[in-house]
Amino acid sequence: MFDFSIVTHWIDNLLRSVMPGWGALLIEFVLVGVVLLLLYAVLALFYIYFERKVCAFFQCRLGPNRVGPYGIFQSVADMFKILIKELITLNHSDKFLFNLAPYLVIVASMLAFGCLPFGKGLQVIDFNIGIFFLIAVSSIGVLGILLAGWSSNNKYTLIGAIRSGAQMVSYELSIGFSVLTMVVFAGTMSITGIVEAQSNGWFIFTGHIPAIVAFLIYLVAGTAETNRGPFDLPEAESELTAGYHTEYSGIHFGFFYLAEYLNLFIVSGVASLLFLGGWMPLHIPGWESFNQIMDYIPSVIWFFGKAVVISFIIIWFKWTFPRLRIDQLLRLEWKYLLPLNLINLFIMVLVVIYGLHF
């Protein structure tokens, strides 16, 4: 398996050989920033296109097919347009908070994005409490949504914002507990550690029942966290016109749009790293030649492949299920998912203590 840290070290050494240490560091930082930015933008555009095509095929349509071959530049055109659309300033809004909200949303998703291991040795932020940090920063996003809805001084956005507050806060718990279940299993919070621990088999296979339950809960809660699919109450189009971002125009709205898709990627990325081994190839103990073939597939492809597959499932949710009502949404979390999660955690603890896993 190719280790991308070889490349990064090579670049590091090269830079250090021609300039002082701080200069090299500076250039590296800029490089990291630029690469991250590009990846972020390209992924968002890809996801927008991907979702449109997928939903079009669910709905017996073709989806975008005029801009570029198979319409692949459709989302690029959309972003161009959104970028140069007017930014409307509202008369009676809280201007500071109104402008702050997109920053929070984007920064939260960017920080969470930076934590993801895209491949072997290809990770920007790697703390020993990585997964904990990831959950923490990604929940800043809800603040952005709350502020957006509150500051617009519009009744629809206010209802949307408060809905999303109640929803995100509730499902944050489920995410926390299902991640906790996997941390118990992995015995580490470091993202690298979690991935390395799966070299002999992905957690979803080795942790059998509790891991599968945790995976399902995570999928449901993750869908809710991204405001998608049956849980899109904060921007329920048939109820609140456009929900919390009703008053945002142009690129302001574009940020929420981008962040929504990026969050989809982050949720599926985290799911893949917790349950499906992140960038770790599929290894089946005993099948050495099979494992070797799997090793030839680059780690980056493994990671993105898994993430896209999980995203596909989440998109599938969205285009199949009708929307929940707020009381049903909260009931699902507090009366079903939370107790289930606690029991599941307990089972996982037993599994770990008595070594019942593979």
Binding site: V32, L37, L83, N153, L180, F255, I326, W334
Partner: protein, 116 residues
């Protein structure tokens, strides 16, 4: 190194928003009219302020969340070293968990989990 990278990512995020807003602010078209800055409410002028006291039901869940989330935070360090603690770790944390679950049961019985 990691905290420095953290700052780098943070700045990247800020730069993305800042730069895009700058471009949009510089070249995007503008028009002004008296109705533009007003709130959109299906094409009808709003009645009164929308910043007003709001139903307490939403906040109830925020408080419940606080209770549980703080507990999960305590559980994380325990989870990491569970393998070393073994059964003792499980028994010790059970006391903690039971109190937590009692809290949930209490809230359930009180009807706090029911949307009103």
């Amino acid at each position: 190194m990691n905290s420095a990278l953290f700052v780098v990512v943070l700045i990247t995020g800020l730069a993305l928003v800042g730069a895009a807003l700058l471009i949009a602010g510089l070249i995007s078209p503008r028009s002004f009219n008296p109705q533009k800055g007003e709130a959109y409410e299906c094409g009808i002028p709003s009645r009164g302020e929308s910043w007003m006291q709001f139903k307490v039901g939403y906040y109830l869940f925020a408080i419940l969340y606080l209770m549980f989330d703080v507990e999960t935070v305590f559980l994380f360090p325990w989870a990491v070293i569970l393998k070393d603690l073994g059964v003792a770790g499980l028994v010790n944390i059970l006391f903690f968990m039971v109190i937590l679950i009692l809290g949930l049961v209490y809230a359930w019985k009180k009807g706090a989990l029911e949307w009103k």
